[in-house]
Symmetry: C7
Subunit: 94 residues, 7 copies
């Protein structure tokens, strides 16, 4: 497994939902829709200017929404993950 560094997080992207319009399956990814996913691991936090560590606002297990092209793809044991910065996260799905 990977422990992200600093303000980065490891995310397992959810399978994109399929939308049926008039019998044609339009993958939800057609439009620039934000993606859903789950937080698998978090970094230690962001460094303030004086070096102090600022804890992240998300934690392992949170379901999140993030911008379409966020993060870097990483394959671990043949499963696709994304490593991204906390700033790429739009919100937490309640």
């Amino acid at each position: 497994m990977i422990r992200p560094l600093g303000e980065k997080v490891l995310v397992k992207p959810a399978e994109p939902k399929e939308v049926k319009k008039g019998g044609i399956i339009i993958p939800d990814t057609a439009k620039e829709k934000p993606q859903e996913g789950e937080i698998i691991a978090v970094g230690t936090g962001k460094r303030a200017e004086d070096g102090k560590i600022i804890a992240l606002d998300v934690k392992v297990g949170d379901k999140i929404l993030f911008g379409k092209y966020s993060g870097t793809e990483v394959k671990i044991d043949d499963i696709e993950y994304l490593i991204m910065s906390q700033d790429d996260i739009l919100g937490i799905i309640k």
Copy 2:
């Protein structure tokens, strides 16, 4: 529902008013007009450089005016919302 992160807010955009000019309905969106909407949810606040949290200047229920192309579209239970930064908000409609 979505809880926005940090200094982001969740906005329900108002339906663009239609303007009749000589019988032709010109959607208000024709010009680069700012949009109206209502704040549905707010993040915990912006981080100052030393990590302290600065509360947002807007709250749930505020009617706001925001720049035309602000934010990221998000569909929740088939309703279109926008997630944007507080900096995209021009003002609060009184």
Copy 3:
């Protein structure tokens, strides 16, 4: 009415004066001249890095001079206003 956010201000632009040169009316806007206007509403102020609020240097009623293409147009009750940042203001007309 609109209450601008943070360091933004709401401005009522003055009617551009018309200049007669050899019988042709040249709207004052021909050259990249700064515009005049009046402050109608002000935000709560700018945030310093530590989150403290810094009061604005202008107040409601001030006659101001601002750069030609400053701000975002906003129509309120059919009257055109501009919402701009305090940094767009060149000076106060005495």
Copy 4:
């Protein structure tokens, strides 16, 4: 009159000197020469990051040298002035 805002100053540009070379009057502006002028009004000062006001290093009456294309042109009672930031000033003519 105009009271500039913050770290801006109001400058009355000097008439560009004319240089005679072989009978042809070459306005001094031909080359990218800095311009001379006099300070007519000054802003209250620059804001430090913590919001404190830092007084300007120039005062009304100072003769100054500034970069060729600095500032915004402003006409007051038919006289051309420039409003510029203190950073545009190269030095004070002694």
Copy 5:
């Protein structure tokens, strides 16, 4: 050997794994995949704005994941290394 400066680290990149798809060996580098490697040496740390040294979050011997085109190639005793900034590191492989 090389002692990296400040917030830089010296990394020994791992050999890219080969992937067999239908008999054709596709080097793992085909896609923009992050790379793996081991930390060989670390700088003294990053300077905070006030000059204080902030220790790095990685140490010698850590197995890491870093962005595809990170760092500068350096040959020492005929072995290829990379010198990169800590910010280029995505995470530590556990």
Copy 6:
């Protein structure tokens, strides 16, 4: 004379040395060589973020080396000078 502002300095550039190669005089300026010159006047110093003045590291009379295209040309009593920022200075010639 001119008193530079803030972190600027007034420099009298040295005459570029001429180099003879095979009988052809190649002005030293052919390559992107740094220039030499003497400091004639200095500003009061650079402002730190909190507004405090940081004295300059050079003084009147220092012989200096500066980047080829640094500064702005200024003619005073028919003599060519340069006004530049301290950051343009590479070093002091001992």
Copy 7:
């Protein structure tokens, strides 16, 4: 001699090693290889935001590795040197 200013250093670049491949001498500079050199003189240090001086992490006599196109060329008594910022240095050769 030259005393570099602030966070700059004076470096004597090492002669690029020649590599023989199949009888053709390929100067080591063919690829974007970092360069080696020795520190001849150092500036007083970098200024923190509050103006405090932060000593450099390198000293006279250190053998260093620096990015291929770092610094500005300077000829002193017919010997080629480079003046560069400390940030251009990758590491110290032990």
